[in-house]
């Protein structure tokens, strides 16, 4: 009888995989919660956003119209407005677009409360362009404007 038996191999304990589903679910939930869907972006214009100190969070569950104002890539000082997927040629298109949008009951019900015009504007844009767009908004009675900015640290 020896203390160190060489004969019989020790049985390896099996690693339990019972917790694997838990880990997988945990990861799943984690990513579900932390994922922020990428903001709607433009690929037609170059936009360098302004950074400011006092910002608020954009409200959740809003209806919005997106306006991008920026430089056409590869061209100097050619600032254009993009609405939805297309660059606009005439500012009056904005009014028509909003009037059409308002005919949709999904939008008209929240027009005065949860409808926002979201502006993403390049910092070098001249105010005349912003002003012209906003004149059209007033005509269409869409008064709520938010400017998308970066938070200055």
């Amino acid at each position: 009888m020896s203390k160190f038996s060489k004969g019989k191999k020790k049985k390896e304990p099996g690693i339990s995989t019972a917790a694997l589903p838990d880990i997988v679910f945990m990861l799943l939930f984690f990513f579900m919660v932390t994922t922020v869907f990428k903001e709607k972006e433009t690929n037609k214009l170059e936009i360098d956003k302004v950074a400011i100190k006092e910002t608020t969070d954009l409200e959740k569950n809003i209806k919005a119209a997106y306006f991008w104002i920026g430089r056409v890539p590869g061209r100097v000082d050619d600032f254009r407005v993009q609405l939805d997927d297309d660059l606009i040629n005439d500012y009056e298109e904005i009014r028509d677009y909003l009037v059409k949008l308002r005919k949709n009951p999904e939008y008209s019900q929240v027009w005065d409360s949860r409808f926002f015009n979201v502006f993403k504007v390049d910092k070098k844009t001249e105010m005349r362009i912003v002003k012209k767009v906003q004149d059209e908004l007033k005509e269409a009675e869409a008064f709520k404007v938010v400017y998308s900015v970066n938070k200055e640290k």
């Binding site: 019989k8 304990p13 690693i15 838990d22 400011i52 910092k123 912003v130 008064f143 400017y147």
Partner: protein, 232 residues
């Protein structure tokens, strides 16, 4: 000696650990919402307020993005101090708006007389606006536990005037400065009255909502955008 059988590790508590971690991350993770600056475009209105020069804080930017406050060149940072001074100064100071005193009795009296006036002239838009303003002020007095406050008259406003060629960046920085000044005032008032900074109030909670609107009554955000024109 009997061989000791190696026991299988009990995985029963693994699920607990997983949930603990899950809940930890759930609580500590903040979602990055898009950051924005809000603005309300002016409605076309047939009511014209008479603007008294001393009730307007005029901020301008010219085509070279130079800032002017009340007609004099200034730096960007000066704006927030000018805004603070505009809202909070000694009564009767020169070229600054005079306050209106708001307390419970004044509110009730004014509301009563405005209602009487509206009964005679039901279409007087100006009366309606005033009635609305005084009703909200009365709510504010109640939120402060009955104590009165002084605030700027209805037609006191910060006016922003931008040149057509002013850069958008300058405009945003000016708005930012105004909000910095305003939020500074709101914060200190809120700490004073409710022992909590203004930014910590949550507008989803009913009691906080009243506090927010009460603070806003004392320091209302009033920004008037003048028609863009060429500023020398």
């Amino acid at each position: 000696m009997a061989k000791r059988e190696v026991e299988e590790i009990n995985a029963g508590s693994m699920a607990d650990i997983a949930f603990l971690l899950l809940i930890f991350f759930l609580i500590t993770t903040t979602m990055n919402l898009p950051q924005v600056q809000e603005e309300r475009l002016p409605q076309k209105s047939d009511v014209e307020f008479l603007l008294n020069e001393k009730n307007v804080l005029q901020i301008m930017a010219n085509k070279n993005d130079k800032i002017g406050i009340e007609g004099e060149f200034a730096e960007l940072e000066d704006i927030q101090h000018a805004v603070i001074k505009f809202y909070q100064h000694e009564d009767g100071a020169r070229n600054l708006p005079s306050y209106i005193e708001v307390d419970k009795a004044t509110c009730e009296d004014t509301i009563e007389s405005l209602e009487a006036a509206l009964a005679v002239y039901p279409d007087a838009a100006l009366f309606k606006i005033e009635l609305d303003a005084w009703t909200r002020r009365l709510d504010a007095v109640n939120a402060f536990g009955g104590s009165g406050f002084k605030t700027l008259p209805n037609n006191a406003t910060v006016s922003i005037q931008m040149d057509n060629s002013t850069k958008y960046e300058t405009y945003m920085k000016v708005l930012d400065q105004i909000m910095l000044g305003l939020n500074h005032l709101r914060d200190s008032l809120c700490v004073d009255k409710f022992n909590v900074p203004f930014g910590k109030l949550n507008d989803k909670v009913e009691s906080d909502k009243q506090k927010i609107s009460a603070i806003r009554q004392v320091y209302p955000k009033k920004i008037m955008k003048e028609k863009n024109r060429s500023v020398q």
